[in-house]
Symmetry: C2
Subunit: 217 residues, 2 copies
Amino acid sequence: MTTSNNKSLTDVSISMVPEVVIQRLPLYVRLLSHFSNAGEDVISSEQLGSHLQITPAQIRKDLSYFGRFGKQGRGYDVKMLENQLREILGLNHTWNAAVVGMGRLGRAVVSYPGFTPEGFNIVSAFDVSDNIVGQTISELEVKAISQLKKTVEELDIKIGIVAVPIDQAQEVIDALVDSGIKSILNYAPLSPQVPEGVTVRGIDPVLSLQSMTYYIR
Amino acid sequence: MTTSNNKSLTDVSISMVPEVVIQRLPLYVRLLSHFSNAGEDVISSEQLGSHLQITPAQIRKDLSYFGRFGKQGRGYDVKMLENQLREILGLNHTWNAAVVGMGRLGRAVVSYPGFTPEGFNIVSAFDVSDNIVGQTISELEVKAISQLKKTVEELDIKIGIVAVPIDQAQEVIDALVDSGIKSILNYAPLSPQVPEGVTVRGIDPVLSLQSMTYYIR
């Protein structure tokens, strides 16, 4: 998949690459996929940048962490770059996820249709409440948190999705970490404490709202 | 509020500033607020950049759309820059919002505790289903979509939050636009069509997941 100019993926130390660079890569993948579907073969860092409003230099710098993808003055091969970024991000296979918190938000999360087509399968659901444990929600039998570690191992769950209220969130995140989960999608509006090596992404609608009021002020 | 070096806010044509620059400003506000609370008075574009993993040049370019905030070699006044960005983004007052779709997701949205402290008040809730219209959810009486335009005017609602399934989303967004709403937070996984002058932000947990698998691949 990689050309001779590219560093082998295993040559790139994960910690070398700034986290925010990694967070931009899915945007590149989505845009490249769009261009690929539109029949484009080659794209320049200027074109990529103009769609994402990122300077071409920033894009070249982001990609340079993983080797040399383009030829000077020639641009990037759209399909090849998309495939390589998918490989780098681990998007070429599926991932199992568990949701903790089966209140309104958790129920919305397990019924969200956008995860499966992208390779993210929610295979298990948990709650702390005795009233909810044992119920079947979106074809998942809700389990007690005490079953978390065992289930994570049995079902090869790699991602935890936190959909509990803010006052339970840290405790649940601790339990996920104890179960061996290293990737957490957090819907609770707090910045949790996690050990090194665990990645947390918050879903933050407030940041989105704050960038819209500019247009109506 | 502005120094003599700054352009008056009204001098900056809204369309001049790339949308993605506007989307980065709330991140700057949040970081500046953090530094301000930590007692820092001055911050450089290098420091801002290192926390957000954006090049200092990109940060200076982003801010330059709105005038000159810092003195060459001196850095930015933390409090002043935060206040100016808040003013630019329209965050110094409150905004009223309506949620459309009172299923699981909509109920989660209206009970989300993170909006009000940031000045976003959900003042009205709507649904298309006769079963749900008339119910009281989180102290809001759910109204029929036919009441949307009237309510938007009466309650000075500026933001619409879309929490309906994907197959109803475009229709609901059209109704919001017809009601005069120009800012839409969209939880449905589609890119809706809207007329010029309407801003839509999608909440996309898939992008967040895609930037975590890098660490576990």
